[in-house]
Amino acid sequence: MSSQSNQEGQVVELTYRESIRAALEDSLEEDHDVVLLGEDIAAAGGPFKTTDGLLDKFGENRVIDTPIAENGFAGIALGMAMTGLRPVVEIMFSDFLPVAYDSIAMQMSRLRFMSGGQTSAPVTVRSSGGAGGRFGAQTSSTGESWFLQFYGLQIAVPSSPQSAYGLLRTAIRENNPVVVFEHKALHSLKGPVARGDSDLPEIGKAETLRSGSDVTLVGSLLMVQRALEVADDPEIGGIDPEIIDIRWVRPLDLSTIRKSVEKTGRLVIVEEQYHDGGWGASVLSRLILDGTTFSTPPICVSMPEILISHSPVIEDATIPNHERIKDALIRSMEA
């Protein structure tokens, strides 16, 4: 855990978990209106240790433990955001987000519009999701597309320590509500992180992590890491994929994806969610509606229509893995 405070341009090696903590620490440091609230985040340092030590450093008015009442404290955060504060709410598991659906989906996203632009809600909702921990059907979803139909919310999906730091900083600075989906299986992933304000990511901008000429591979969260591993697998036989991390489910950066597909002619989407109603389906339909042409049929690697099980064998068969992504890549070259 880095105890150093924000130093401009400093590149440090941090885990994804530490990057989240660093982003929260730097945001609290930067802006006195930033307040954190959530279950077990203050005295206990966070269920995933992403807020460790922040209570001691910033005090109980800025790092607030709440009762287990997600809809209630998410609504409280909205009231705080509308009256001068910039709250960051932690909803422990993504699967608890539906408990707070009214406050997040219906209130945060719509009040500005209903007031004719008079009010705004600079609130960030953070939540950890994703499978692989053998947590079963009610604590393993990524949830990343659940809010797609609630226009008015922005949605971030960090796939790496740098991305976790940058997207969270950007989300907290944003004057609109943003839901940030973190991934539990990435918490221990290490990587270089440039701390500071100088190079924060733009809202709604995807990132091309690997340039390639054969096939465009688009993913989010943990699936981005899996895609990067597959690209290094000698068994793909020299296929040269271009890997795009969407980073934002909304605003969705279609133009980066479209440009890549125009170059490669092939598309594989990898998502830790069901295909129907997800961002992957939106990417595909929008490209088709725009008249984008493909030299081989696009492939979506998604979750089969079963629930995520506690049982390891079933969970492993549910989440897109190395083999499935590799097969999709190879198939995309064949047709």
Binding site: G72, M82, S103, Q107, R112, G116, G152
Partner: protein, 332 residues
Amino acid sequence: MENPSTEIQEAVALESSELLSWYRKMVEIRLAEDKIMEIYMRGLVPGTVHLAQGQEGVAVGANAAIDLDDWYVCTYRGHHHSLARGIGLESFFAEVMGKAGGVCHGMGGTSYVVDASLGMLSQPAIIGAGIPLGTGAALSAKIRGEERICITFFGDGACNIGAFHEALNMAQLWKVPGVYVIENNQYGEYTPYRMASALSGDLAHRAEAYGMANQVVDGQDALAVYAAVREARSRALAGDGPTLIEAKTYRYRGHSRTDPGKYRPEGELAAWKLRDPIEILGSRLEAEGFLSEDLAESIKAEIQARIDAASDAAELSPWPTFEEAESYVFAE
């Protein structure tokens, strides 16, 4: 029901002009809602309407007890609040008609007439949604060290939803400077509140589950509401925690325009109308020599003329453009 303390009654009664302004405001709300029905029948009001006639005393009494700096949260049945808080008649009517000249540029409509410059944060259509929001506004004032409270109004129906319990628990836990007012108009949509509440006593007493101060008041008596809210506001600002006030009142009309309210027992409406909030304040003013039948008539005529003019002007307001509407989704 508890009556306002004599001190407060006397203090207010001395200011006849103040009480007369309450009276005028209640008449304005009553006539404005009559006007809404009139223009609704002429096809000028999109959607449906939720009227609050009979509940004017709650909004006017409570608003008189708080500051303009205080935050204000109510519900989709909110015309009385919007006008009590001070939204001008023309931008009020333009909003009701969904016109660009409305206070929310037509995006809110008849069920969402808020003016943020008056501290009005929301009038959500979702039952109970305003209670956490108002609690957050109050917590904000506490954290920022501001001398202000948030007053949050909701109906008897909202007392049965999770958001009520979650927010009140946290409000008391953190001793936020909040005042919560249940406008118990006897019906949650079409269902009498007693059929929806496991406890047969007053709804205000639910606050005891959280150790929160609470009070039942006669919502038809604007002075009683004023006194209760004033005391609750002082308690909140002193750091002694929030208060749950139950104002017993009555909704003269049905839930929404298409509801004739046939589920109400015979004679119930008539009995409540004998305790009309405008009449109650009017009689008090008359007894003290501040209001006469002639004055009441001329007040009514003058307000009616202003309402007619405001509604006519609102009719001429243009529709919002699609581009304008798009710009309201996200802040810069």
